[in-house]
Symmetry: C2
Subunit: 480 residues, 2 copies
């Protein structure tokens, strides 16, 4: 079989763009041997054509003129690696209008303007491949779109932001038990860091941006959840459908107390089908177009949320450490599956981008994109559960004055709100004003009950400061 | 877009066949909505047309006549769910010759005759899709062939047999630490079972066949490893390239002693690129056709093996329990990725089969199959490492007489063979003839040194019975 040559153009020559250029250039032979087609990097567009990057480009292909890509009819695929919203969106639209397919890792853009871009692609009979937008090196989008097609996906639980997971890992004590033999060769046990220490360390190691807001606020995870859940459930999901809470306020004390109760703290992105208890979000009415639909579930609801979550320490997700990502998916036929890998970084992301380029070049992406996405239907819209209606277990920490009758008071408040306690620990640590931390785990209850109870508790004289409240997520266990 | 109808025929109406029929029939609407094409089950062929199965077939499609499928030109895809070798092979060949694509889950057949079948498919310009052959519900083949294409895969470590993993899990004590709060709701701690008790329980639960030989001997894992490694490395791998040891001889005492040293016992299927220390296996000479090749690695070797393996208890694979499967893959660009899910069972396997049917129906499988497989090349053949040359750490258990000078004797034997000890524990358990178990973990050494040392040890008067030896597999850790 003669080798087919596929010319591609790259826009954005930053970290990931450099990784992509590197893989295309250095692995051209190896990819040609595997796939029977040869990728050729025809141009690289960036406003900065001067700075040195750790890859040697062929002479004359680096340019600051996007038209070099748009006007070259031999280039089939445009790779948008600019990031950000406005410029990237214009570039993607121009590439599609020039009759080229788009490969991108830009989750922020897709989460905000995906539907508009998908429509532009369909109009131009082109496709957009975006595997690298979610969980970098983990081929999660392909898994949902192809491997799990025969399933109705009922829930997803993901650690999809490496920055937050790195920070939370550094804030957690390593509680794993090691025997003498293994301990000899294991590194010295590291003490847990505070949030700001862990953030500083993440920045030092390149896992966090100088401005880490988008990551630690949960915003980046929300972008990914919007993309993944729209594919998994077949609905047009908007970013504001996702409830978001970041990790900025998490303290290492709560991680430790939760650990003593058998839980591990993770920033989880959660999508769950529900019984449809909730109400519509305000702006749902206009949304009558659905990406695709599983008719049997149109009446059920979907809960979409990103927040710090205590999960059982023996859950496989609890073992996901440092900058790694993992996503646990429950399907009607397959049961539980989990995917684990690096969610970011130059080469893991580049690996996903190049896999997408190959998939587009082979023509597979076009088929999948045509069939699996953006088929507008006039259907009733799905119910997005309001966070107030969420039924969950909760971890609560209050700082109590060390005096008689305190337990009676806070337990009275919980009882008044029909909240039942599954466990409680009073610690001997001393807090501000001679208070002691009391840690409570509840049985399942609605979020609005907890919110009301916490407000009442805060008014008690015997409690100092604002109670801390973290959701306990009981990830279903598929076993035996 | 008008719905395209794709007619399929099923051969083999056993457990998985029934699951496939069920999904196709019951999910036709849902799949049509997602994919834009409607699967229609046109015939089901089985010699047993009488027994009741838990699915309602349309009237008149169940038959014992394979020609109903072969002669029907409207049927595009034949699904072989017979299992076994001879009949299944003939059926697949006939389906291909009749101009239809094949979907199969038959790992034993593919491991033995895959190359012959792939050639027949290419000759007839058809494809064979076999995602379900390895690790059931985990879309591992698709992950290797598409998501990780841009990577040179350097190693794979897999728990790919649910029967063995279930048995080993039942033979292991649950050593996870649970706090008071969580312990309240956790089930009563179960005592570890012996191998035969665990096997009986697995059979009772339907996780093991009446004749469990293929599973517990490691043979089934070897089949899967041969398929996965041929795709991952691009070489034609034969079943006899894989070194195999089963779990029949494993005792729960060794699992416990290993646990005390920080290890967890798993039956691992391992494929690793090596530096090419080893020699060719005898019959390698003739094998000049390679599936595909990564030129840069032609000179390196590949180690392929299935055996009981002690792995660090904090490795994510150690958390894979019961009938679940998981595969950890190391890629040059992506680093470590891991996939986890049910490796067998009616619906998980059916889920993978139907995903394959959809992929074939969309035309994606044809592209992938054409490009990714069986491109004969005249190249030097890869080196398959001999097990004798394996460099590994080892767990050794000897039963020593409880008398002075014993340690001096066995440690002398190890020293004579240049084997260095990384840890040792003497237990107070009493064995036969008043012996006590001594457990030793070694530093890395060659298999042939260990084999020779064990032979010498067995000759010592102070040691009773045959030493037990289990390989310790230090799975590389990709972190930070």
């Amino acid at each position: 079989m003669a080798e087919k040559i596929v010319k591609v153009g790259l826009v954005g020559f930053g970290t990931v763009g450099t990784g992509v250029a590197k893989l295309i250039i250095e692995d051209a032979d190896s990819i040609a041997a595997k796939i029977g087609l040869r990728l050729e990097l025809a141009c690289v567009v960036d406003i900065d054509t001067k700075s040195a990057r750790p890859v040697k480009l062929p002479d004359g292909i680096l340019t600051d003129d996007l038209n070099r890509l748009l006007d070259d009819d031999t280039i089939q695929i445009g790779i948008e690696m600019i990031g950000g919203i406005d410029t990237a969106k214009q570039v993607q639209l121009k590439i599609l209008e020039a009759g080229k397919d788009v490969v991108t890792a830009n989750k922020a853009l897709l989460a905000e303007y995906g539907n508009e871009l998908y429509r532009a692609a369909h109009k131009n009979n082109r496709c957009i491949a975006f595997e690298a937008s979610c969980a970098g090196g983990i081929p999660i989008i392909s898994a949902i779109r192809t491997g799990l097609t025969a399933n109705n996906i009922t829930a997803m639980y993901g650690i999809v932001n490496g920055t937050c997971n790195y920070i939370l890992t550094q804030m957690s004590e390593d509680r794993s038990q090691k025997s003498e033999v293994r301990r000899q060769k294991s590194e010295i046990r590291v003490c847990p860091l505070s949030f700001s220490e862990a953030l500083a360390q993440a920045q030092e190691k390149g896992y966090a941006e100088a401005d880490p807001t988008l990551d630690i606020s949960g915003g980046d995870s929300a972008h990914k959840l919007a993309i993944l859940s729209s594919i998994a459930f077949g609905y047009e999901i908007a970013l504001d459908d996702v409830f978001v809470e970041g990790i900025e306020a998490v303290s290492k004390d709560d991680i430790r107390y939760g650990g003593e109760m058998g839980y591990c703290l993770k920033l989880l992105a959660i999508a769950e089908r529900t019984e449809g208890r909730g109400q519509r979000t305000e702006d749902r009415e206009q949304r009558t177009e659905l990406l695709t639909s599983d008719f049997r579930h149109l009446t059920s609801g979907i809960s979409l949320r990103v927040h710090p979550s205590f999960i059982a320490e023996d859950n496989p997700l609890a073992r996901v450490k440092g900058p790694f990502n993992a996503i646990s998916i429950f399907g009607s036929a397959v049961g539980q599956v989990m995917y684990y890998g690096r969610g970011a970084g130059m080469m893991p992301t580049a690996s996903a981008v190049v896999a997408d380029i190959i998939d587009v070049a082979l023509g597979n992406s076009a088929t999948t994109f045509r069939h699996l996405n953006l088929r507008p239907r006039s259907q009733t819209v799905p119910l997005i559960e309001k966070i107030d209606n969420l039924v969950s277990r909760f971890y609560i920490r209050i700082m109590c004055k060390d005096q008689p009758g305190v337990i009676a008071q806070w337990s009275r408040v919980l009882a008044d709100h029909q909240i039942s306690i599954s466990g409680a620990l009073q610690h001997e640590d001393i807090g501000p004003d001679n208070t002691v931390p009391v840690v409570i785990a509840t049985h399942p209850t609605q979020q609005k009950n907890i919110t009301a109870a916490l407000e009442d508790m805060e008014k008690l004289d015997v409690i100092g400061g604002k109670p801390v409240c973290i959701r306990i997520v009981d990830i279903p266990e598929d076993k035996d």
